[in-house]
């Protein structure tokens, strides 16, 4: 598996990255979250983003998709320059080409789960109603929700189920780039590893690019091609083996703690 994915993004090495960040600076009042941050996300890779709580992972995702306007720097998403703050949301042009799963779900509370998943399809238009319903049920099953969840409202779901429903909505149109903010937090371990496999499968057949914030070391080991560590307002990117060798104390602690060791001992370790 490692070999296959390695190939799928290195063979395009000459191609422009799916996402390109240069000199990003984000600040809330006097608190600087990102400073002069550069990041390339290659096409077809699964990039894990890690970092301490409050280090700015969610803000980074919001910045990439144009929800958060950086005070400096430039962003290119799928070859399209995101010029935030110029009126029109840049993301509109890329509608349907990327999906975002928010950390706390952000499901539309007045729609059922199925309607939530159908919402992006409705926006796209031209899809027969019955087929939309089937697709919604398909996604519901794919993310491991029981079929009877389809007609429930978000307030009637458990926390983990909401998470899955929100993932199903992010995947509704099989986007090219998906941003996942802690997708497996709150899932049971079996569900979490099923989810990892799902991302892998979709990634394999659709050449998906995935940017995923996760603290789940198993996910990092199992499906991430590279890992971006948010440290000191910037990112350090590398494969698992490169990072394990990185001398930075936080990285050392992260990848050599007892939890990390347990994850590495599981089969599927690469690097």
């Amino acid at each position: 598996m490692a070999a296959m994915t390695e190939e799928s993004f290195t063979s395009d090495a000459a191609s422009p990255p799916a996402i390109r960040l240069r000199g990003i600076r984000n600040a809330f009042g006097t608190q600087v979250v990102h400073d002069n941050l550069d990041l390339d996300v290659l096409r077809g890779e699964v990039l894990g983003v890690v970092g301490g709580s409050g280090s700015g992972k969610s803000v980074l995702l919001r910045t990439i998709i144009g929800l958060q306007i950086p005070s400096a720097g430039e962003i290119e998403l799928l070859g399209e320059k995101i010029e935030a703050g110029r009126g029109e949301m840049p993301t509109r042009k890329l509608q349907g080409r990327f999906g975002m799963m928010f950390q706390d779900g952000a499901l539309f509370s007045s729609l059922t789960v199925a309607q939530n998943i159908m919402a992006p399809m409705r926006e796209r238009g031209g899809i027969p109603k019955q087929f939309m319903r089937e697709l919604a049920l398909l996604k519901i099953n794919m993310v491991g929700l029981p079929p009877n969840a389809a007609d429930k409202f978000p307030s009637q779901l458990s926390g983990g189920m909401r998470k899955r429903a929100s993932l199903a909505r992010a995947l509704a149109l099989d986007p090219q780039v998906v941003f996942l903010d802690e997708p497996t937090a709150g899932l049971d371990p079996i569900g979490a590893s099923n989810f990892d496999m799902l991302i892998r499968d979709l990634q394999g057949s659709l050449n998906l690019t995935v940017v995923m914030v996760t603290h789940d070391l198993d996910s990092l080991v199992a499906i991430c091609d590279r890992i971006a560590v948010l440290l000191d307002k910037q990112v350090t990117v590398g494969t698992m083996s490169e990072l394990v060798a990185n001398p930075h104390p936080w990285i050392q602690e992260y990848f050599h703690g007892p939890r990390a060791r347990a994850a590495f001992e599981a089969p599927g370790l690469k690097g």
Binding site: E80, P147, D174
Partner: protein, 387 residues
Amino acid sequence: MSLDWGEQDVAAAAETLLSITETGGELRVGIAGPLTIEAVARLDRQFRQAVKASPRQVVIDAGGVTALDSAGAWVLRRTSEAFSGRGIEVRLDGLQAEYSALLEKAFIPDPDVPTDEDRPNTLIVITARAGKAMFDMAHVGRDLFGFFGLTIVSLLGLLTGRTKLRFVALVSQLEYVGLNAVGIVSLLCFLVGVVLAYMGSLQLERFGAAILTVNLVGISVLREIGVLLTAIIVAGRSGSAFTAQIGTMKVNQEVDALETLGLSPVDVLVLPRLIALFIALPILVFIGDIAGLAGGAMISVMKLDLTIQQFLIQLKGSVDFWDFGTGILKAPVFAYVIAVVGCHQGLKVSGSAESVGFRTTKAVVESIFIVIVLDALFAIFFAEVGI
């Protein structure tokens, strides 16, 4: 692969070809091009049509599939299962190996889940709704009564020192419901005073009794207009805010969190709002009265050629303390109604953002309704006791 960002796939999907041929009992379903959602949305009808046939065996030739997403995988699977479910042999040919994992995942365990198209008869729905509305109304009355009781208990707790007053919350609510409302209340009362005086003077002039305009304005503003108008404005701006604030907290489970901390939502959320409105509304009514009279005075001066002194003397002769007193007495009662209804609806919010909106509307309508009903009862009461 070329270096586009998906535009080519989308364009190509418009050209995806589906060919269905039947030769000697064998149905061949040939697909050429990307089988992605754009293509499938277009070809879905044809796929559904195709499975109506009953050949001896079926070959799905997916050798020409150049891209597959989950929508495409589902259609392949649905089509082949529609045949195999009827005992017809199906073979899937030529699908690239990298897509097989996706095909595996494209599966709906129980496709017969009721769709939202399966709605019952409209007549039944309407009848059921009417019945439900009747019951709801009865329940609202009962609930509201219960909630009135709760707030009384909570207020008594305050007097006996069981709960303590949240002073900071009270002050901030006072600023919000009281101070910030002064502008709009005085402006609207002033304008209504102007209208009353103007319309009144036009009519009364015809009887040569233009001076009585002052009596008209004085009595109606002090007894009714000032308090009613202020109560309606406050119900619209503060009652609704109470519902929305508490309702949003309910949605975010903040209210549940309060309960787990051993705090009563009534003590923490309702009491400061209730007391703030209790204090603020009489003051606002007083300001509204003054503004209404000022509006009347302005028209009297401009239209009736009275001086301010003459206006005040006429006013003094025409109204007594109880004209003012009845108005201001009603204010705390209305304040109680508005606050209790607003907070009650807020606490009844369940789950969704839609529910917050629904409850907010209800709070405003309900509190204005109750305020006006009470106002009528007060009018009868005051008439009977003769003040």
